[in-house]
C-alpha cells in the first residue's frame, strides 16, 4: 500500500470536506461582497443575514459607474498600479540579475540595507515621507504614489527576481557566450525568455500591492480628481450613513483588474519553463 495516496472512501471524503471547509472560509467574504452589491438598498438591513437576497438588482453597479467618480478613481488606480509595477519590475530585474550573477564590493551591505527597509512598520515613516513629498511639491499627484510604492516594493521584488535568476543555470548563459553571444545578447536571447514567469510573478505581486494600498494614498492625496480607488471607496462613507450597496458594488468592480491580471500571469507562475535545460 502506498503511503502517499490513501484511497479509502473515508479518507477521500475527509479530504474533500477539509478542502470545502477551507474554500468556504476563504471565499465567503467575497460572496458577501457580491451579495450585498446585488441586494436592493431597502433590503440590506431588513434581511441582513439571509444567505440569498429575496430580490436582486444591478442598480448599485449602474449608480457607481454613472453617478459617482468611481471611474476616475479606477483610472487613477490603474495608472498608479501599472506604473509602479512596470518601474519596480524593471529595476528589480536589473538588480536581481546583478545580485544573482556578479560578485562586487558592497553586495552584502546593499542586500542588508534592502532587508532593513523591510523591517520597519510603514506607520513610522509616514510623516517623513509626507514632508519629503510635500517639499517636492508632489502632494495630490499620482507621481508621488508611484514613487513611494516603487521605493517600497523594490526590495522584495528584487529578492523575488534574484531567486528566479538563481533558478536559471549559469551554464545556459555560458553556453550562449561560447556560441558567440556577448553577455547582453545572452541575457536577451536566452535568459530573458526564461525569466518571463519571474517577471510575470513580480508584475502581479507589485500590481496587487499598489492596487490595494490605502495608507499612503490617504495621506498624500486629498483632492478628488487624483484619488485612487481605495481612497475613493471611503467617499461612500458619509457623515451620517454608509452606502453599503454602492461601496460593495465598487469593491466587486475593483476586483476585476486583479483577477484578470492573475488569470493572465498564472500560466507563467505554474509553468516549469526551465525543465529540460539541464539534466532532468
Amino acid at each position: 500500500m502506498s503511503i502517499t495516496a490513501p484511497r479509502t472512501p473515508v479518507l477521500m471524503i475527509g479530504k474533500y470536506v477539509a478542502i470545502s471547509f477551507y474554500l468556504i472560509f476563504a471565499l465567503f467574504p467575497l460572496y458577501w461582497l457580491l451579495k450585498i452589491a446585488l441586494t436592493p438598498d431597502q433590503l440590506i438591513f431588513t434581511e441582513g443575514t439571509n444567505l440569498v437576497p429575496s430580490q436582486m438588482t444591478f442598480a448599485n453597479f449602474t449608480s457607481v459607474l454613472f453617478k459617482t467618480d468611481f471611474l476616475a478613481y479606477f483610472g487613477n488606480s490603474l495608472v498608479v498600479s501599472l506604473g509602479t509595477a512596470a518601474i519596480t519590475t524593471m529595476v528589480a530585474a536589473g538588480a536581481g540579475y546583478a545580485f544573482s550573477r556578479f560578485h562586487f564590493g558592497g553586495k552584502k551591505i546593499i542586500i542588508a540595507v534592502m532587508l532593513i527597509t523591510q523591517m520597519f512598520p510603514l506607520l513610522m515613516i509616514i510623516a517623513p515621507i509626507y514632508k519629503i513629498i510635500a517639499s517636492l511639491g508632489l502632494l495630490n499627484s499620482l507621481t508621488s504614489l508611484i514613487i513611494v510604492y516603487t521605493a517600497f516594493n523594490i526590495p522584495f521584488a528584487t529578492f523575488l527576481m534574484q531567486s528566479f535568476f538563481d533558478g536559471i543555470p549559469k551554464d545556459l548563459e555560458e553556453a550562449a557566450m561560447m556560441d558567440g553571444c556577448t553577455r547582453f545578447q545572452a541575457l536577451r536571447k536566452v535568459i530573458f525568455p526564461l525569466t518571463l514567469p519571474g517577471l510575470g510573478a513580480t508584475l502581479g505581486f507589485v500590481f496587487t500591492a499598489a492596487w490595494s494600498e490605502l495608507l499612503f494614498a490617504l495621506m498624500l492625496i486629498s483632492k478628488n480628481d487624483t484619488m485612487t480607488f481605495p481612497v475613493g471607496l471611503l467617499t461612500f462613507v458619509s457623515k451620517f450613513s454608509v452606502d453599503w450597496g454602492q461601496m460593495m458594488a465598487a469593491g466587486v468592480l475593483a476586483l476585476i483588474p486583479s483577477c484578470l491580471f492573475f488569470i493572465f500571469i498564472q500560466r507563467y507562475l505554474v509553468q516549469g519553463l526551465t525543465s529540460g535545460a539541464v539534466k532532468g
Binding site: 551554464d171 556560441d179 558567440g180 535545460a277
Partner: protein, 359 residues
C-alpha cells in the same frame, strides 16, 4: 584546427592561488584529457581555456595568438557542458543552429547545416522537439551537435558523460572517439573517470591540487607513473602500495621478505612499494614471495578479484585473469611480477630506472 600553448598559467581566487605553473602544449588535432579528483582544478583550467574564467597569470596562446584577454565568443572554441546547457525555450533545430543565428547566417544555410549535423548524430527525426522532450542521451547528442555545427578551432568537453547511465556512457564515449577521428579537431576533455581518460586520450594530463602531476600517453601513465598519486589514480583496480625499508640489494617488506632490486635502482631511498593487482600471480602455497588468506573473492567471469590478508603487511588486492576456484578463507601463494614493481621515495616520487627490479 588549433595548436594551444599554456605557459605558466596561474589562477587566483582573491589571494588564494588555486592553480600554478601550468605548462602544456597541445598539438593540432590532439585529444587531451584532463583528469584528477574533484577539486583538482581540471574544470577551472578548461574554463580558462574557454574564456569563461579569467586567467590570473601566464599566457595562453592559440596558434601563436595571445588569448588571455579575448572574450569566449572571439576564441572560436566550442564547449559541451556537463549539464548539456540546452536552451529550454528553443527546439532542437534552433538550439543547434543558435551559433549560426548569432553570426547572422541565413535561415536556409542554417537549416542545411543543422540537418547535416543532425544526421551524423541521428537526431534528424527530433529537430522539432524541445529539450524537455528528449532523453539524457539525446540531449547529450544535441549538445554535441551544437558544438559541431560551428566548425570551431577546438572542442572542449566538461565531464560530458557523467550524467548518463553506464551503458549510454560507453556508447557516447565511442561516439566522441568517432567524432574525433572524423573531424580531426583539437579536443580538450575533462573527466574524473579514468576509464574515459584511458580510452579517449592521445595524452592524459593528471592534475592534483592545482598542479600538473604528469602528462603522458595512457600507457606511459600506466606503466611509468611519475609519482604515487598518479600510480594510484590511474589504473583500475587501484595499485597496492605497502611500506618497505631498504635492504642490501633490495627492499624489505614489513613481513621480513626481501625483494631484490635491479642494480641501477638505488633502493636506499625506497619508502614504499607499489604493485598493481593484475601484476600479482597466484602460485601454489609456499612457492611465491609469501602466502596470504583470501577474505573476499569476486568472480567477474573474465577475471577473479581476491581481497587477501597478508600477515605482517595487511590487505592487498589481487586480480587474476580467468576464473580460479578459490573461496573466501582459502590460503594462496602470491608472487609479485618483478618487472612491474614500482618503488616510491618518501616524498611519493617514483624511483627512476625503468624496469625497477630484477627477476
Amino acid at each position: 584546427m588549433a595548436r594551444m600553448e599554456l605557459n605558466n598559467l596561474k589562477k587566483l581566487y582573491g589571494s588564494v592561488e588555486v592553480m600554478r605553473d601550468i605548462n602544456l602544449d597541445i598539438e593540432d588535432g590532439e585529444f587531451i584529457v584532463l583528469v584528477g579528483p574533484s577539486g583538482c582544478g581540471k574544470s577551472t583550467l578548461l574554463r580558462m581555456i574557454a574564456g569563461l574564467e579569467p586567467i590570473s597569470g601566464g599566457e595562453f596562446l592559440i596558434d601563436g595568438d595571445r588569448m588571455n584577454e579575448m572574450r569566449p565568443r572571439d576564441r572560436d572554441i566550442a564547449m559541451v557542458f556537463q549539464s548539456y546547457a540546452l536552451y529550454p525555450h528553443m527546439d532542437v533545430e534552433r538550439n543547434m543552429g543558435f551559433s549560426m543565428e548569432i553570426r547572422g547566417e541565413s535561415a536556409s544555410e542554417r537549416k542545411a547545416r543543422v540537418l547535416d549535423a543532425a544526421k551524423i548524430l541521428g537526431l534528424d527525426k527530433l529537430l522539432k522537439r524541445y529539450p524537455k522532450e528528449l532523453s539524457g542521451g539525446q540531449r547529450q547528442r544535441v549538445a554535441m551537435g551544437r558544438a559541431i555545427i560551428r566548425d570551431p578551432r577546438a572542442f572542449l568537453f566538461d565531464e560530458p558523460l557523467s550524467n548518463l547511465d553506464a551503458s549510454l556512457r560507453v556508447e557516447m564515449r565511442l561516439e566522441i572517439a568517432r567524432l574525433h577521428q572524423k573531424l580531426g579537431a583539437t579536443m580538450v576533455y575533462v573527466t574524473h573517470d579514468q576509464v574515459e581518460a584511458l580510452t579517449l586520450a592521445d595524452r592524459i594530463v593528471v592534475l592534483e591540487g592545482g598542479n600538473i602531476q604528469q602528462v603522458g600517453s595512457p600507457l606511459e601513465l600506466y606503466e611509468r607513473p611519475a609519482n604515487k598519486f598518479v600510480a594510484q589514480f590511474i589504473g583500475s583496480p587501484t595499485m597496492n602500495v605497502v611500506p618497505v625499508s631498504s635492504a642490501q640489494g633490495g627492499v624489505t617488506l614489513a613481513n621480513g621478505v626481501t625483494i631484490p632490486t635491479l642494480k641501477d635502482v638505488n633502493p636506499v631511498n625506497a619508502a614504499e612499494l607499489g604493485i598493481r593487482p593484475e601484476h600479482i600471480d597466484v602460485v601454489p602455497l609456499g612457492a611465491g614471495d609469501f602466502d596470504a588468506v583470501a577474505d573476499v573473492v569476486e568472480h567477474l567471469g573474465s577475471d577473479t578479484n581476491l581481497f587477501v590478508r597478508i600477515d605482517g603487511i595487511g590487505p592487498m588486492m589481487v586480480r587474476v585473469h580467468g576464473n580460479i576456484p578459490k573461496q573466501p578463507g582459502d590460503s594462496v601463494g602470491l608472487k609479485l611480477q618483478r618487472e612491474n614493481i614500482h618503488l616510491f621515495a618518501s616524498d611519493g616520487q617514483r624511483l627512476r630506472a625503468e624496469d625497477a627490479l630484477a627477476a
